[in-house]
């Protein structure tokens, strides 16, 4: 009798082999954290989220301008730190589920719903899904800002930072955040916090992304500041034609002889 429960969806057929390797002294490669600075803060009219744009693969920069602020619903966004694939997939899954849920209830989606879905999923996977998220949005009950850690614990706070650059960004927040700031002040604070992460943390870099969410309107400010523009190269490094002389030249035609044979009775339509 087939089980009524849905399977976990992941394939565990390699566990035997991996255990064997681990016993012999070849451990599994660690999924490296992307190194990120993501922040969120509450202001008078709503939430401002901010993120840097560097994705790393160990010591190498894999993507100089990636998007870390993911769409959940029109009025809810989520910044993701940790393993890039995990944050991408988790936020996409939760976004789909939020849409289905809001269609089913007939109400505008709420931030706590997304937070509960995320924390229940991450707890189920015991931290193996390496997604550390900053979830923020404005719904019918007001603006809310949450952090979700990879093992499933959550915090509800007025200003949060996550990622490897979180300490640098939190230092900026702790010194300058005040309740009920204006939009310009909040955006300036978020930009300063992300820049602190970009310049002081190796894992964060490139540009600053921001997202301002209010009750009426969500504004995605992609690359709002680019403090790491590449300067133009000072010299030309191309070679002029004729730099390398050639000694001999031989041209061979690969077509020896060509003959076209018409197949069938030509192109007439068959109307029998």
């Amino acid at each position: 009798m087939a089980s009524v429960f849905s399977p976990p969806g992941f394939d565990f057929s390699n566990t035997l082999r991996n255990n064997f390797f681990a016993e012999k002294g070849v451990p599994l490669p660690k999924a490296t954290s992307t190194g990120t600075t993501i922040v969120g803060c509450l202001f008078a009219d709503g939430i401002v989220l901010g993120a840097d744009t560097r994705a790393t693969e160990g010591p190498i920069v894999a993507d100089k301008n990636c998007e870390k602020i993911h769409y959940i619903t029109d009025n809810i966004r989520c910044c993701g730190a940790g393993t890039a694939a995990d944050t991408e997939f988790t936020t996409a899954l939760i976004s789909s589920n939020m849409e289905l849920h809001s269609l089913s209830t007939g109400r505008k989606p709420r931030v706590v719903t997304a937070m509960t879905m995320l924390k229940q999923m991450l707890f189920r996977y015991q931290g193996h899904i390496g997604a550390a998220l900053v979830l923020g949005g404005v719904d019918a009950t007001g603006p809310h800002l949450f952090t979700i850690h990879p093992h499933g614990s959550t915090d509800k706070l007025p200003y949060v930072t996550m990622g490897s650059g979180s300490l640098a960004a939190m230092a900026v927040f702790e010194s300058s955040w005040k309740p009920n700031m204006s939009r310009e002040d909040a955006l300036e604070l978020v930009k300063t916090a992300i820049k602190a992460g970009i310049f002081n943390d190796l894992g964060s870099g490139s540009n600053v992304d921001a997202c301002v969410i209010t009750a009426s309107h969500t504004e995605m400010l992609r690359n709002i500041e680019m403090p790491n523009e590449r300067v133009q190269k000072e010299r030309q490094y191309g070679f002029r034609r004729g730099t390398t002389a050639w000694k001999s030249e031989e041209i061979r035609s690969l077509v020896v002889s060509e003959e076209v044979t018409m197949l069938g009775a030509g192109d007439e339509m068959d109307t029998t």
Partner: protein, 139 residues
Amino acid sequence: MEPSFRIVPGSAPKSASVNDTANSLGLHDTLQYGPRSIAAEIKTENALKDRLENWEETQDNLKLSMQRNLYGLHAPMRLLMERKIVSANPHMAGLPQSNLHLDILMGRDETIEPVDIFGGMEDAPPLNIHKDMEKKLNM
């Protein structure tokens, strides 16, 4: 499963059996399934796999136990009966099937889970229609 208030699956005692890969002589069928070591299977740590595979069942068991304590044995019994009726599948085994009625009863008709995205025809093992039909009809 016996009635329990567990939210998270407990660590069940490990067991591995030759039943699922046995041939007509009763031993593991190496020709069809490749080499297999029951000792290695018992020894490997499968904490995450066990947790994920038993997750839904444990949560479901919690709800059914609470319903049994609140409303009496008939409540979980009717639900389980409905599920069993709906799972009776007249179609050919082995081919991909979807059971909307079962999804509705299990409460997953309005959610998307990783199993809906992964585990499609590209990742599945090759079709074994004869074997699956034999297994199904011998039940």
